[in-house]
């Protein structure tokens, strides 16, 4: 290894590194707190400004900020991040710290060794935005950083930083060409580099909760969620999509009630798959929500599978709990795709009476509701009739469906049922289940999503957080049956979605409003692109890679054959890249060919070139011999001399070769030259 000592950096090198840093930082900016983002970019800008100032003042010693000040500064930033995030050892504050740290390093780089370190830091910073988003836009945003890395490394490799380097444009072109030449290697690695099925080290707990359903429900939690436009998941159906009233996407089932809040039991394995004839098959692409819930249409009739492979041992991504919740193997931190089958139905067999006790438990709270339930129950001893009476009561009383329910204090069900009567789906579901349990009927709240919008551009359905919903299940005649009190109060919620069913003054999120003209069209078109991107690039994970290898038959090859195939592919790549060099070299050879052809021609015309004679002298002699072609000979001599000896750029080269060829074309045949020779 060349143990060359670090050399001081020239301004062009510092600039190239700065451009790399900023190109790496910019895509991350949107994921950082504003003050961190602004600060990191400010540091980079400060160095650029100092550099300019040094150049303007032609300083011998550049302006420097002492290292101890920078170290102190880094500690201060770490403390500020600790305060801002509430913790420091975690992914998000560390990413933010790295972002600022790279800026601080840029402020103090002096030697090529610092430059190498900064390049490494910047390359890692360029990776960090993908912790937060792997959208198509993010992928495009990383491209400048890749080319900038090539430019910065090339600048660092320049031995004499004082000499005038290549123009900025030439450097970027060359780097882009290098990246393009490396593209086959990158694509090959992307396809064949083995992915991990399970993480190497534990993923640190994400402190920042993402929006999505949780295993708890308090009054107001779902209406808050409904204010979000974020996509919960996307679905493509193998056949026609289900009707709107069948679009109940089952999520967390909440059986425990403490008088105010509902919560889920820990998932108990052993749920039995539904059977029936209205089977529907579809593929769900779930956005990461850091929970283990997988969503399926009521009622799931298969386990979620990686591929649309119906064989029994196709890998499964989750299991079915006893209350028909699908539970993933691990919290969903990356977009997850699974193939799912459901039987469209609203009832399924209930478990034994012993287990149902949990679903009938009532804490001593909400006395008015309990009293009301008992008086109503005395009139309707039959379970089915009682439930019908409760639903009728909801319909007949002046209940309002609204996104902005009033705040409820203690005994929230009492307050909702008898005082405010304004609520969102969680209020209705909760109150309905309380009324049933108070009458001794086992019942529970089911949360999930209801609805979904078909994207005509991609032929798939988008389910957003604004579709979040809560409904109820009760045991009637030994079967769990779905009841949706919200549908009774606001039937349009089920038919037309949120926007059509709440008062116009409610703050319904933009994309839940249905037809909003061109914005909606653009949004749906973008979503279709993003969906394809998701399916084909982002979700190319361990399982799908193995599936691809199976398609190729790679798993049937012995390892040595696979190794040979890889070697052959790399060799083919090298040959292809060298072939592109050869094309460029032929341009150089053309010059030599033209020149030797000219020399042969003039020799036959009586003017041979002795081997020591240079092109300009020879052309000069020819011009004396044939003065009528003096201009052509002059052009030939100087063009050839420039091509052969002068430093010429690629553009100049092709122009000079063209000049040389044209000037030689002008000359007549050797015989006529011989005839017109001027002695």
């Amino acid at each position: 290894m060349a143990a060359s000592p670090p050399r001081p950096l020239g301004p062009a090198q510092i600039r190239a590194l700065g451009v790399l840093l900023v190109a790496a930082q910019l895509p991350l900016v949107v994921h950082l707190p504003v003050w961190v983002a602004a600060f990191g970019l400010f540091l980079a800008g400060l160095r650029f400004a100092l550099l300019r100032r040094d150049e303007r003042l032609a300083r011998l010693r550049p302006a420097r900020i002492p290292s101890w000040a920078l170290a102190l500064f880094a500690v201060a930033i770490a403390l500020a991040l600790r305060k801002s995030y509430g913790y420091f050892v975690g992914r998000d504050p560390c990413v933010a710290f790295l972002f600022v740290l790279a800026g601080i390093k840029f402020l103090e780089i002096r030697t090529t060794r610092d430059g190498t370190l900064l390049a490494c830091l910047a390359m890692f910073v360029a990776l960090t935005p993908f912790f937060y988003s792997q959208s198509l836009l993010g992928a495009l945003a990383m491209l400048p950083a890749i080319v900038a890395a090539g430019v910065a490394l090339e600048a660092l490799a320049v031995r004499d930083p004082g000499a005038a380097g290549p123009s900025i444009r030439a450097a970027w072109t060359r780097s882009a060409s290098l990246v393009a030449q490396g593209l086959p290697i990158a694509a090959g690695l992307f396809l064949v580099f083995p992915r991990l099925a399970t993480p190497l080290w534990g993923l640190p707990a994400d402190h920042a909760a993402r929006s999505g359903l949780s295993d708890r429900m308090a009054p107001g939690s779902i209406s808050e969620l409904s204010l979000s436009d974020a996509v919960a998941f996307r679905v493509s159906f193998d056949g026609p999509p289900p009707r709107p009233e069948d679009r109940y996407w089952r999520g967390p089932v909440l059986s425990l009630f403490n008088g105010r809040e509902w919560s889920a039991l820990p998932p108990r394995p052993g749920g039995s798959l539904a059977r029936g004839d209205r089977t529907i098959r579809y593929t769900v692409t779930l956005e990461p929500d850091d929970h283990r819930w997988l969503f399926a249409l009521d009622l799931p009739s298969s386990l979620p599978a990686i591929e649309a492979d119906s064989s029994v041992n196709a890998p499964k991504v989750g299991s079915l709990a006893r209350d028909l919740q699908l539970v993933a193997r691990a919290p969903v931190t990356q977009p997850l795709r699974y193939v799912q089958e459901s039987v469209l139905g609203d009832r399924h067999p209930a478990a034994s009476a012993g287990e149902l006790r949990i679903d009938a438990r009532m804490p001593p709270s909400n006395p008015r509701a309990v009293a009301f339930a008992q008086s109503l129950r005395s009139r309707y001893p039959n379970d089915r009739e009682y439930i019908g009476a409760v639903l009728r009561w909801f319909r007949d009383q002046p209940f309002h469906y609204t996104l902005q329910p009033p705040l409820l204090e203690d005994h929230p069900v009492d307050a909702f049922l008898f005082d405010t009567r304004r609520g969102f789906c969680e209020h209705f579901a909760s109150a309905f289940v309380v009324l049933l349990r108070a009458a001794g009927i086992p019942a529970r709240v089911v949360t999930g999503y209801q609805g979904g919008e078909i994207n005509p551009r991609g032929g798939y359905m988008i389910v957003r957080q604004s579709d979040a919903h809560a409904w109820a299940e009760a045991v009637v005649d030994g079967q769990w049956q779905r009841f949706d009190p919200t549908a009774v109060v606001a039937p349009s919620r089920i038919e037309r979605g949120l926007y059509g069913s709440v008062p116009a003054s409610d703050p319904v999120p933009l994309f839940a409003r249905g037809d909003t003209g061109w914005i909606n069209h653009v949004q749906l078109a973008l979503d279709a692109i993003n969906y394809r991107w998701r399916r084909n690039v982002i979700e190319f994970d361990h399982d799908r890679q193995r599936a691809l290898w199976r398609d190729w038959g790679v798993d049937r090859f012995p390892p040595w054959q696979a190794a040979m195939a890889v070697t052959a592919a790399v060799l083919a790549w090298a040959v292809a890249v060298f072939a592109t060099f050869a094309v460029r070299r032929r341009r150089g050879e053309r010059t030599a060919r033209l020149w030797s052809a000219l020399c042969r021609r003039l020799a036959r015309a009586g003017l041979p070139r002795p081997p020591w004679e240079g092109p300009i002298a020879y052309a000069g002699r020819a011009a004396q011999r044939w003065p009528q072609f003096a201009i052509a000979f002059d052009a030939i001599g100087s063009a050839y001399a420039m091509l052969r000896f002068g430093p010429v750029s690629e553009d100049e080269r092709s122009a000079l070769v063209a000049t040389l060829a044209r000037a030689i074309e002008v000359l007549p045949s050797p015989a006529s030259l011989r005839a017109t020779a001027h002695s």
Partner: protein
């Protein structure tokens, strides 16, 4: 040669067996990551592990893009050296302590070459070549002792275009230069001419015995040309010295030096005297054990005498 030695020669070119000119081909070119290359590779490995662990498809894409860039740079590093032609031009001579110049010629061939570094025997040179260009490169090797100094193995290397990979090739030409003994400082004047053979001409200062100018005749030593007169345009004259013609040749003998001097000190003194005689344009003969150069006065004679001093094997005396 046993096959191990052949293999070693092929890998490391430790023997000066290369015949000019050498064109660098894949069998001679080695490529290893540079220090910066190792740092970047370590970063890429870190990025790879992070992306794998968090299942970041785009992180992997970024890592592989940068890996592809590094792989393409490797090919370019190879291409920057491959096809380069190198041939030995000349080995110079020098007095010990002065740099000894070797020159080699590099021919670019069809491709332009960027920042090729040559390194041999403690000398380095760096050169960039346009396509089809040929350039002579001087390697100035520092010297300390007299003798025949070989240039040794030349390492041609380049880390272009990105500085991530260092490509290098060894070329070993049988190129050697002669290092003369450094002349003794403040040496006593050389012995007197033929009349006083063996005696030291005390205080003989030839410069003060200038007798006048005479017409320059072809063959007169250049040291005697009256350059001031030439510069004035007065014509060509030679300086005539009092008795300088009559003094005859000086015999410089190794054995007649004081016995107190070591072999190297004797050689240093002889070196000084040879130069003094040349300056004074006095013909001299040189007698070393085993070597005798008859009296003469010419460039060739001077070179021959200094070479004899340089290569003299002191063990023989």
């Amino acid at each position: 040669m046993p096959w191990t030695a052949r293999l070693r020669q092929r890998a490391f070119r430790s023997q000066p067996a290369d015949r000019a000119p050498v064109i660098l081909r894949h069998s001679r070119i080695y490529i290893l990551p540079s220090r910066r290359g190792l740092a970047i590779i370590a970063t890429l490995v870190l990025m790879l592990l992070t992306s794998l662990n968090y299942a970041l498809s785009l992180g992997l894409a970024l890592t592989f893009f940068l890996g592809g860039l590094a792989a393409a740079a490797l090919l370019h590093t190879f291409r920057n050296l491959a096809g380069l032609e190198i041939k030995p031009l000349a080995a110079g001579d020098a007095f010990a302590g002065e740099p000894l110049a070797f020159s080699v010629a590099l021919a670019a061939g069809a491709l332009a070459r960027r920042a090729i570094e040559l390194r041999a025997a403690g000398a380095t040179a760096s050169v960039s070549l346009a396509s089809h260009a040929t350039q002579a490169i001087e390697l100035r090797v520092p010297t300390t002792t007299r003798g025949r100094i070989a240039l040794g193995r030349i390492t041609l290397s380049s880390d272009q275009p990105l500085g991530l990979w260092r490509g290098f090739a060894y070329v070993h030409f049988p190129l050697a230069g002669v290092v003369f003994p450094a002349p003794e400082l403040n040496a006593p004047p050389p012995p007197a001419g033929a009349e006083g053979l063996g005696e030291l001409a005390a205080g003989a200062n030839t410069e003060s015995d200038l007798a006048g100018l005479q017409d320059y005749r072809p063959g007169d030593p250049l040291q005697r040309v009256a350059w001031k007169a030439v510069a004035r345009g007065a014509g060509w004259f030679s300086k005539a010295f009092e008795g300088s013609g009559g003094r005859g040749a000086v015999e410089l003998a190794y054995r007649s030096l004081p016995a107190a001097l070591t072999a190297e000190e004797r050689l240093a003194r002889l070196s000084a005297w040879v130069l003094a005689c040349e300056r004074a344009a006095r013909p001299f003969a040189l007698a070393l054990p085993g070597v005798h150069l008859p009296a003469a006065l010419s460039r060739e004679h001077l070179h021959e005498a200094l070479t004899a001093l340089a290569l003299f094997d002191a063990g023989e005396s």
